[in-house]
């Protein structure tokens, strides 16, 4: 049982991701998967000498799919957390980032602790680390849980909620979309790291994945991807003086 599950072609590497998280996981105009994670997965498949097959699965469905053997790996900008680690194994981290906050123009607070007041409303996306962070750290504000990122940012834009906690890159992009009505607090409020998800007990594959990540890092693979997909953001973050990954 090495990197494969019952009844499937062992020469295919099935990677699950939710293709709605640009620029990491998305599709191009021709409905082909594309993005940083996709290229990474391709490189990994090449390294393993297998054909890559990408399964587009909603974020909440990724772990069940992995656990029931429908996919071999999760590469979907997934943060390693303790709870998740009880269900599945994780590779070594390959990217470090942090949560940021999008606030509405009318809100004059400058940190999440200022926002955490009675009567305040904070939006998070269901199942994300922002959701977990809010559950653990916000004591007074009401937490509203959204399925869709676009809904959460629209709520901030329309002033229906005060803040939206999500990762740096998404907050930045959402702010760009609603620049008239929102403000982005891009200073990370915590730090977290993304890892590749592997089914528990599939240790052979885990070793291979970790080796791959180390080599990929060393050969500058991540930097190239950063330049290809995130050059504008990189420059912008430098200008604003906030830390940025890649």
């Amino acid at each position: 049982q090495l990197g494969c599950s019952k009844g499937r072609d062992t020469q295919i590497l099935v990677v699950g991701m939710e293709l709605s998280y640009p620029p990491f996981e998305m599709t191009d105009e021709n409905n082909k998967p594309t993005g940083i994670s996709v290229e990474m997965a391709q490189a990994l498949a090449n390294r393993l000498g297998k054909t890559l097959h990408i399964e587009n699965i909603p974020f909440a469905g990724l772990i069940p799919a992995l656990k029931t053997g429908k996919i071999d790996l999760i590469i979907s900008s997934m943060t390693r957390t303790e709870e998740r680690a009880q269900s599945i194994s994780f590779s070594n981290p390959y990217l470090h980032t942090g949560l940021c906050v999008l606030v509405s123009k009318s809100c004059d607070s400058n940190s999440i602790t200022d926002i955490d007041q009675f009567g305040a409303k904070v939006a998070v996306k269901q199942g994300t680390t922002g959701h977990i962070y809010a559950n653990a750290n916000l004591k007074k504000a009401e937490i509203l849980i959204f399925d869709k990122e676009s809904a959460a940012s629209l709520e901030v834009a329309q002033g229906k909620v005060d803040a939206f906690i999500y990762d740096q890159i998404s907050i930045y992009l959402n702010w760009k979309k609603h620049s008239d009505t929102t403000r982005a607090l891009l200073n990370p409020i915590n730090s977290e790291s993304w890892s590749i998800g592997i089914r528990k007990g599939n240790d052979g594959l885990a070793t291979q994945v970790n080796q791959f990540l180390a080599d990929y890092e060393a050969s500058g693979g991540f930097d190239q991807l950063g330049d290809k997909y995130l050059s504008e953001q990189k420059g912008e973050f430098k200008k604003l003086g906030f830390p940025f990954f890649f």
Partner: protein, 244 residues
């Protein structure tokens, strides 16, 4: 007596199917962590109960009104009501929720998401109910309407004493089905962060990284809401039964 034996047998058979399916699954059950969040389930269930009850009430109001409008002699009103019914039945609830909450309610400065959510569900289900009622009403025989006229019934009395009781019998199963649908569809309100049953269950799923554990309470919780409605409907249906 033998009815119950057969019923029990059927249930036993189904349970067996479920059981073998689940045991074929290599899955590490993790009930404790799901159980820890029982308050979350309860809160969501109660929210769903409230939202459904209120929506249902208004859905029947709107549905009846739309049906009446389609019988009115003023063409624009009739057509407006027809367009409402077809547009609403023809488009996904998800789109309607987004549209009403972020566009219409925003333009009307209604902020309370529960009010808007109930309104959306009522409008959505109202269209289905209207169509069901229309069909029921049109199924009432002409000779019955002639008889009502001959007796001197007013239009309202004809409606009340002839059309409704006869249409109800044929519409009841569909109405019960629509009610069950409303209850279940209200879970889509989670997209505007209304913390109802499904959202809360999925949240538990997300938090505890379980996959199936919260689906059992979820299925069970909805069954508690929907089964009585279907049973009630069947029993009323039996009571309304008459031969033509």
């Amino acid at each position: 007596m033998s009815r119950w034996v057969s019923f029990g047998g059927a249930i036993l058979f189904l349970s067996l199917v479920f059981y073998t399916s689940f045991s074929a699954l290599e899955y590490q059950w993790n009930w404790e962590s799901a159980l820890r969040y029982k308050k979350k389930f309860a809160d969501g269930w109660i929210a769903t109960l409230w939202i459904s009850t209120l929506s249902l009430f208004f859905a029947f109001l709107i549905g009846s009104l739309a049906t009446l409008c389609q019988r009115v002699r003023i063409p624009p009103i009739r057509h407006l009501s027809m367009i409402y019914v077809e547009l609403t039945r023809g488009t996904p609830l998800l789109v309607q929720i987004f549209f009403f909450f972020y566009v219409v309610a925003d333009a009307a400065s209604i902020q309370n998401r529960y009010i808007v959510g109930i309104a959306i569900m009522a409008i959505f289900s109202g269209a289905y109910i209207s169509e069901i009622l229309r069909a029921g009403i049109e199924g009432v025989g002409k000779s019955q309407l002639l008889s009502a006229k001959a007796i001197g019934f007013s239009e309202y009395q004809t409606f009340r004493y002839v059309i409704v009781p006869q249409a109800l019998r044929s519409s009841l199963p569909a109405l019960a089905g629509q009610t069950a649908n409303l209850i279940k569809d209200s879970s889509l309100l989670s997209v505007i962060a209304i913390s109802e049953f499904t959202l809360n269950a999925q949240e538990v799923n997300a938090i505890t990284y379980s996959s199936f554990e919260s689906f059992f309470p979820l299925a069970f919780g909805y069954l508690i809401l929907t089964l009585p409605i279907m049973w009630l409907s069947r029993s009323i249906e039996n009571r309304l039964r008459f031969e033509t």
